[in-house]
């Protein structure tokens, strides 16, 4: 059912295709382990974007997984992007992979074919440009239906004013793909970070990363910085957000799997009443129920990314993405919170790694719609009980 890696990409000179190489390099990266001291220090250092780390992700080809080959990327699908995101989630890598390599890459991919689009996509894949999509203004707003940012026609381009929020990756952005309304028509506009009238502020998050807020005050956007307009802009953004929600779900799967492993390891070694606590049936059954949530999340994720790669219509795509995010967000939260409980008092300390996983699960599940918001959207998109693939 899931397309195998062999079905994607071209072979290289070693007879391996891009997908298989990708899986291998992610495996190596994960095996190398997480740089948890760095993650723990984020709240003080604010170093959520490490240029050297980003270069490494670019060299591995991971940033360009979704970027078309004609623009210097690998031109692979969401199934492969999910492999990368799961590995990075597992390692708690703070760099904004999903925000840039998925949300921005997909948005730009859907933009009109201009020199700027090509330059940004190529730069994104190479790690030399960091375009970040600043689309959202209100919570729970899928697809940017509640946009107040206005674009007034000006010398063939626009003058833009508004306030964008919840922008993951803003700290490192060299520019923003901004959504704005010109009358009733949606525009996707490129605004360099240093454009006159553009300023950013950071809102600290539980896991030491930050949301950026982007303030736009009468920012002049010349015609050549218009990336997409009207229905094309709407379609590009909607698709990009669904795809990013699905790949964000993969991050959550990586986070939950590692956290649950830590719980199980602890249960096997921590001795109380003369026995490992993992021998107690009440804890065993709780661990099993969480494992079931993890496996449901994993199964839904794999089906979802495979389904999204077949380019279904917008409603099917949105429902699938919401199904994945809902399950993965809830499972990640319940598993990481239980990890604190399984570890007892030590789990409540700053030194204990499970706290880092619990906090990352909170920020990734909240971004682009939490479990509740996606359930609401799933319901609003229509009901059927046909096992998800009717």
């Amino acid at each position: 059912m899931n397309p195998t890696l062999e079905q994607t990409g071209a072979m290289n000179e070693h007879g391996m295709d891009h997908g298989a190489m990708l899986a291998q390099s992610v495996g190596d990266f994960v095996q190398h382990g997480a740089d948890l001291p760095r993650v723990r220090a984020l709240a003080q250092t604010h170093a959520e974007f490490d240029a050297a780390q980003w270069r490494q992700l670019a060299e591995l080809g991971w940033l360009g997984v979704l970027v078309p080959e004609s623009c210097g990327g690998l031109g692979l699908g969401l199934a492969e992007a999910a492999i990368v995101a799961e590995g990075l989630g597992r390692a708690l890598t703070p760099e904004p992979y999903t925000a840039i390599a998925v949300l921005a890459a997909r948005t730009l991919e859907g933009a009109a074919e201009t020199p700027l689009r090509g330059e940004l996509l190529a730069g994104l894949a190479a790690g030399t440009r960091v375009p970040v999509v600043a689309w959202q203004e209100q919570p729970d707003d899928f697809g940017g239906r509640q946009i107040a940012t206005a674009a007034l026609p000006f010398e063939g381009g626009f003058r833009v004013s508004g306030e964008k929020r919840f922008v993951i990756g803003a700290a490192a952005a060299d520019g923003f793909v901004v959504s704005a309304l010109a009358g009733r028509e949606l525009q996707l506009l490129w605004i360099p970070r240093d454009a006159a009238g553009c300023s950013t502020a950071a809102q600290p998050l539980a896991d030491g990363r930050s949301y950026g807020s982007v303030s736009l005050c009468d920012v002049v956007v010349p015609r050549e910085q218009v990336l997409a307009s009207g229905d094309a802009a709407r379609a590009a953004l909607d698709r990009a957000i669904d795809h990013a929600a699905a790949v964000g779900s993969a991050e959550l799967v990586g986070i939950m799997k590692r956290a649950h492993e830590m719980s199980l390891d602890y249960m096997k070694t921590r001795v109380q009443f003369g026995k490992p606590i993992g021998s107690f049936q009440v804890l065993q059954h709780r661990a099993v129920d969480l494992h079931i949530q993890q496996e449901l999340a994993d199964a839904v994720l794999r089906e979802t990314v495979a389904e999204l790669d077949t380019a279904p219509d917008a409603r099917v795509r949105a429902r699938a993405a919401s199904r994945a995010k809902s399950r993965c967000a809830e499972a990640a939260l319940v598993i990481t919170r239980a990890a604190i409980q399984f570890h007892g008092a030590i789990g409540f300390t700053e030194d204990c790694d499970v706290g880092l996983y619990a906090k990352r699960a909170m920020t990734v599940s909240a971004w682009l719609g939490n479990g509740r918001a996606h359930r609401v959207r799933y319901a609003a998109l229509g009901t059927d009980s046909s096992g998800g693939q009717a």
Partner: protein
């Protein structure tokens, strides 16, 4: 023979839907209990003639060989049309077990009889003192000439009163060091002298299971499946198929059909608090589908089901019960009414999913036993 897998999912769904809707007898649609053999015999044979009786079996043995996605579509349409549950042990348990563990002679003899509806099977596993602790079973089989002679009793044997055959776990070596060793797996004709039945009425008032007594019952030696004393391996393999079967979304789907109908009839879909709970259950069921397809795919590739299949059974039956409970709650005062009740334009039996979902967390290894299995063999937690 048609290869159903080459059809598009949509076309396949349409064809299956039309057939179930038009051909399944009206009077048995959405039956509150399991169908008895005399009620479903004609339908069984109609499906058999059409080549649709064994959607999960490989084509070489007379099945449809469906991919996981198509198999689930088949089940979804079964439930949507209200097709009743037939005595299906041969199709879901014995067939897959013989395909995997039986010998050619057993396959050649029994599989066509199952397909044709000539052999109806029941399961001789539990005993009065061997329920969750199945390996402590005491029914005994002793070699005598060309036969084994079986003595003892089995209980909670669903549909035994309709069965022509029973598969039995019996102890063949009382000296074995571990209780799991020295058990063997036998096929027995229910007409054999020495077999007697006592039906047991269940909580819903239906006679769906029995106690089966064996008094010097002789079964020929060629009806031993697999090696002597190694029946526990086969029993576990069969339990894998049983957990896959119980773990399929089809039974919770039945309850979901009713819940959605009731919600429409009572206008509950404008109540956000209800919709939130309904949506959660719809997602629980849809996600069960994803997990189910993963395991079906494994079987289709010829891989053995491991202990991890237990999670499917836990989640499926847990979801089924939660659905049945929300159905009762959503019915308000009608939630107390036994049998079919008119609500709006619909006739709904509100309580039958509640009754039908109760044994699901008990039979086939209780959900607590499944969790023990998962803890030990999948999570490798200490004992």
């Amino acid at each position: 023979m048609t290869d159903w897998n080459t059809m598009s999912d949509e076309d396949f769904r349409k064809e299956v839907r039309a057939f179930f809707e038009n051909e399944f007898p009206e009077e048995y649609k959405f039956l509150a209990r399991r169908m008895r053999w005399h009620e479903c015999r004609d339908w069984y044979r109609k499906l058999s003639k059409k080549g649709w009786i064994a959607p999960n079996w490989p084509r070489e043995h007379g099945g449809m060989g469906l991919t996981p996605t198509k198999l689930l579509i088949y089940y979804e349409e079964t439930e949507r049309a209200g097709v009743g549950r037939m005595p299906d042990q041969g199709l879901t348990m014995v067939g897959p077990t013989l395909i995997r563990f039986g010998n050619d002679a057993q396959r050649t003899f029994f599989l066509p009889k199952i397909i044709a509806g000539e052999a109806i099977w029941c399961q001789g596993y539990s005993e009065p003192n061997a329920g969750s602790d199945l390996a402590s079973l005491r029914t005994e089989a002793v070699a005598d000439g060309d036969d084994y002679v079986i003595n003892g009793s089995k209980i909670w044997t669903s549909m035994a009163h309709d069965a022509t055959h029973i598969y039995v776990l019996a102890r063949t070596d009382k000296q074995a060091k571990k209780k799991q060793e020295g058990i063997s797996f036998f096929l027995v004709d229910m007409k054999t002298p020495g077999i007697t039945l006592r039906t047991i009425r269940n909580i819903a008032g239906h006679e769906e299971f029995c106690q089966v007594f064996f008094d010097n019952v002789r079964t020929p030696k060629h009806n031993l499946v697999g090696e002597l004393h190694k029946g526990w391996t086969i029993a576990k393999g069969l339990l894998g198929f049983e957990r896959l079967n119980i773990g399929s979304p089809r039974r919770p789907l039945q309850a979901m059909e009713k819940l959605e109908t009731l919600a429409q009839a009572r206008g509950l879909l404008s109540d956000p608090a209800f919709v939130e709970r309904l949506t959660q259950l719809q997602l629980d069921l849809a996600d069960l589908g994803s997990l189910y397809r993963r395991f079906v795919d494994k079987v289709r590739r010829g891989e053995a089901l491991g202990p991890d299949v237990s999670m499917l059974k836990v989640w499926s039956m847990d979801t089924y019960q939660r659905l049945s409970e929300l159905l009762i709650e959503a019915a308000g005062e009608y939630g107390a009414v036994e049998g079919e009740v008119a609500i709006g334009d619909e006739e709904i039996d509100v309580l039958s999913p509640f009754y039908n979902s109760r044994p699901g967390t008990i039979y086939g290894g209780s959900n607590e036993i499944q969790r023990n299995i998962l803890a030990k063999y999948v999570l490798n937690l200490p004992s």
